[in-house]
């Protein structure tokens, strides 16, 4: 994937660029708003990681607004040291797709960027999700694994749906909290781990192979062993 990183802090930018390249992405970097806007507007990218505050008069919000006014729908993830809630709302309102506060864990950034690019592909209305022998019918809201029906609570269904939509990708705990429960704060306790382990009891335990995997220091991933 081609990813543009617009970030003026040398250390942060270097760290992000290196990490993304190691994960197999092609990365361009701009260290000010002007170059960032130029690159973003003139070259195709699969995702843009945009710092909110940039030197040179053009900040992240301006870049995004300019892009969106040109009908450029490239997925944008905001990076910001401004952790205030209103700030997040402002970024998302301006057309941002996701928002991450500094300091952040690289695993979190990577997971979110990869989730964004998947979303960016525009999959259209899906009625059925399949991962290995696990099938989810979104219309009848039923789940089967190896032909066997699995009974899920409504929230467990949403959790599994989220994991299946991001199959093969790392999904962090905060992504689940935001995506499944619409919570935007740190719940202090490991509530997500408990919910995932309950889901595992139903989806993985009765079967010979596990689909829900824990990714150390990052989160979870739904995948078949062959993947």
């Amino acid at each position: 994937m081609r990813i543009l990183v617009v970030e003026d802090d040398k250390d942060v930018a270097g760290f992000v660029v290196k990490g993304l390249r190691e994960s197999g992405h092609v990365v361009e970097h701009a260290d000010n708003g002007r170059d960032g806007l130029f690159l973003a507007a003139s070259e195709p990218f699969d995702a843009i990681i945009l710092d909110r505050m940039l030197p040179g008069g053009i900040d992240g919000l301006r870049i995004l607004e300019t892009l969106r006014s040109q009908r450029n729908t490239v997925p944008v993830l905001f990076l910001s040291a401004l952790g205030q809630v209103d700030d997040r709302v402002l970024g998302l309102k301006a057309g941002g797709d996701d928002y991450l506060t500094k300091p952040f864990a690289f695993a979190e950034l990577l997971a979110r960027v990869e989730a964004l690019t998947r979303r960016g592909k525009g999959e259209g209305p899906v009625t059925k999700l399949t991962v290995g022998d696990l099938e989810m019918d979104l219309l009848s809201r039923s789940v089967r694994r190896a032909g066997q029906k699995i009974d899920l609570q409504p929230r467990e269904f949403l959790l599994l749906e989220y994991l299946m939509r991001h199959a093969g990708q790392v999904v962090t705990r905060t992504m689940l909290l935001e995506g499944v429960w619409d919570y935007h704060f740190d719940p202090q306790t490991n509530v997500i781990d408990v919910h995932v382990s309950r889901l595992r009891q139903k989806v993985d335990k009765p079967f010979s192979s596990a689909l829900i995997h824990t990714v150390r220091n990052a989160g979870y991933m739904l995948r078949t062993d062959g993947q």
Partner: protein, 488 residues
């Protein structure tokens, strides 16, 4: 770059807003003096108007009456002359003079050579100009000098008639009146000036109270308060408002001081730990695996520090009240069942039964996300401190516009002695020693309650803790000033 800016500043500083524009002369810059001057001016003007009116109504009236009487006299004499000619006129004049009890009437009829034909004046007054009808002249009557108001009337055939009144007494009265009014005005002027000085003093005294307090406070003594006179007047109300403001400022200052102390104390521990781990690994790590493990643990420590900072910032943001613009009406019933759903799994794992009692609809007005987080913090505490097998109850009810959300557990509770301190930032009780947390949960709940003009009450659940979060159900209740809620 920096130098250029510094130069800019130096050049600009004379025009800084601190240098006041010289709009008025110096002495007018005193508001007290201005008020006093306005008072004196108004006082003087009204006194002058009064004096003029008095003069018009007394001396002026007398003058006008005299002139009317003279005119009427002239009129009737002229009629007599027309009817009966000269003899009739002479008789009438003599009759009039005989009937004049007050002895103030003056008549004189002369021939073309100004020789006297009839009347009580010896000769035509030389001082009377030929071209004037009305005049006020000195006369001499029966050897007494006096003053007369006269009117001249020319008859056909070169005859001249002079009709008048002796106004000596009236003129004296008028002079007296004028003099009295003049002196009165002078007295009034002095009184006005004295009043102005008194007003200036009152004004200065009322302001001095406020301004000495303000000066003391800017000099750093935040404990000073404006003295209330107890009269309950506008100045008292101003003083009260200022004192309330000072009260709030010093509360905020205390908060800042408390927080910075707490930060110094509570963040030093994890930062020290992370630093020690890293240095230890740098000096003593035997293998790469050791090094990795140490670094990872240090990162976890720093993540903890970041989380504390974020929580502190969030509380500060809430306390600043900026989020009040995001308030809206919403139904909190689904919010509660979602929370029970989220924390229910944790409860189940710990063998705790989490029960929800909520009406079908639960009207709230406020910031949905913050209220969600506040209740989550209460639930988190209840589950964290409850022993396995316990019961945690989440209940909600509305009464007279306010909604009470109760989280009750049957754990150790908070001893009454430290209950008031439980909402302080970084406070952690004895029971919390071996549980994770930074002591910021209840501080946030408290801040959210205050933001909504609601309240947080911690009570004994015998055993356990019962935390009650009261929030407004309607916009009107949420609009109450935060200060009231704070005192409540």
């Amino acid at each position: 770059m920096t130098e250029a800016r510094a130069a800019d500043l130096v050049v600009r500083s004379p025009a800084s807003p601190l240098a006041r524009p010289p709009a008025h002369p110096r002495f007018l810059r005193s508001a007290a003096l201005r008020f006093a001057a306005i008072y004196a001016l108004l006082f003087g003007l009204s006194a002058l108007a009064l004096a003029l009116f008095l003069w018009w109504e007394t001396a002026g009236l007398l003058d006008r009456e005299t002139d009317q009487a003279i005119s009427a006299d002239v009129q009737s004499l002229a009629e007599r002359w027309q009817e009966g000619g000269l003899p009739a006129l002479i008789v009438t004049i003599q009759n009039r003079l005989a009937e004049n009890v007050d002895d103030n009437a003056i008549y004189l009829l002369v021939d073309p050579a100004l020789e006297r034909i009839a009347g009580n004046l010896a000769f035509w007054p030389t001082s009377l100009p030929l071209n004037r009808t009305w005049a006020e002249l000195p006369i001499e009557r029966a050897g007494i000098r006096s003053l007369a108001r006269v009117r001249r009337y020319n008859l056909p055939g070169g005859l001249h008639l002079l009709v008048g009144r002796d106004v000596q007494v009236r003129a004296e009265l008028r002079d007296l009146l004028t003099g009295a009014l003049f002196w009165a005005l002078l007295v009034v002027l002095v009184l006005g000036l004295a009043g102005a000085i008194v007003i200036r003093g009152l004004f200065r005294r009322a302001l001095a109270n406020v301004s000495t307090t303000a000066a003391a406070i800017s000099a750093g003594d935040l404990s000073q308060r404006v003295r209330i006179t107890g009269r309950g007047d506008e100045f008292d109300r101003l003083s009260e408002t200022i004192n309330e403001m000072l009260e709030r400022i010093s509360r905020l200052m205390d908060g800042v001081r408390q927080v910075s102390n707490a930060i110094a104390h509570d963040l030093r521990t994890p930062i020290t730990r992370a630093r020690t781990r890293l240095e230890d690994a740098a000096l003593h790590a035997q293998s790469e695996a050791d090094l990795h493990a140490a670094i990872e643990r240090a990162i976890a420590d720093l993540d903890g520090v970041v989380a504390v900072f974020q929580a502190l910032l969030r509380i500060a943001e809430i306390e600043a009240g900026a989020r009040r613009s995001a308030f809206a009406s919403f139904d909190a019933a689904p919010l509660l069942s979602d929370l029970v759903d989220l924390y229910g799994a944790v409860a189940e794992e710990k063998g705790i039964s989490l029960r929800l009692q909520s009406p079908e609809r639960l009207a709230l007005f406020g910031d949905r996300e913050l209220i969600q987080q506040a209740i989550a913090n209460l639930l988190d505490n209840a589950l964290k401190f409850s022993p396995p097998g316990g019961v945690v109850r989440l209940a909600a009810e509305s009464a007279s516009g306010m909604t009470a959300i109760t989280v009750a557990d049957r754990g150790p509770g908070i001893p009454p002695a430290v209950r008031v301190r439980a909402t302080e930032r970084f406070f952690r009780g004895e029971a919390a020693r071996h549980t994770p947390g930074a002591g910021l949960g209840l501080a946030l709940v408290q801040a959210v309650a205050q933001l909504h003009a609601g309240s947080l009450t911690l009570a004994d659940n015998a055993p356990g803790l019962r935390a009650v979060l009261r929030l407004p159900g309607t916009a009107e209740l949420a609009a109450r000033p935060a200060a009231t809620a704070m005192d409540a």
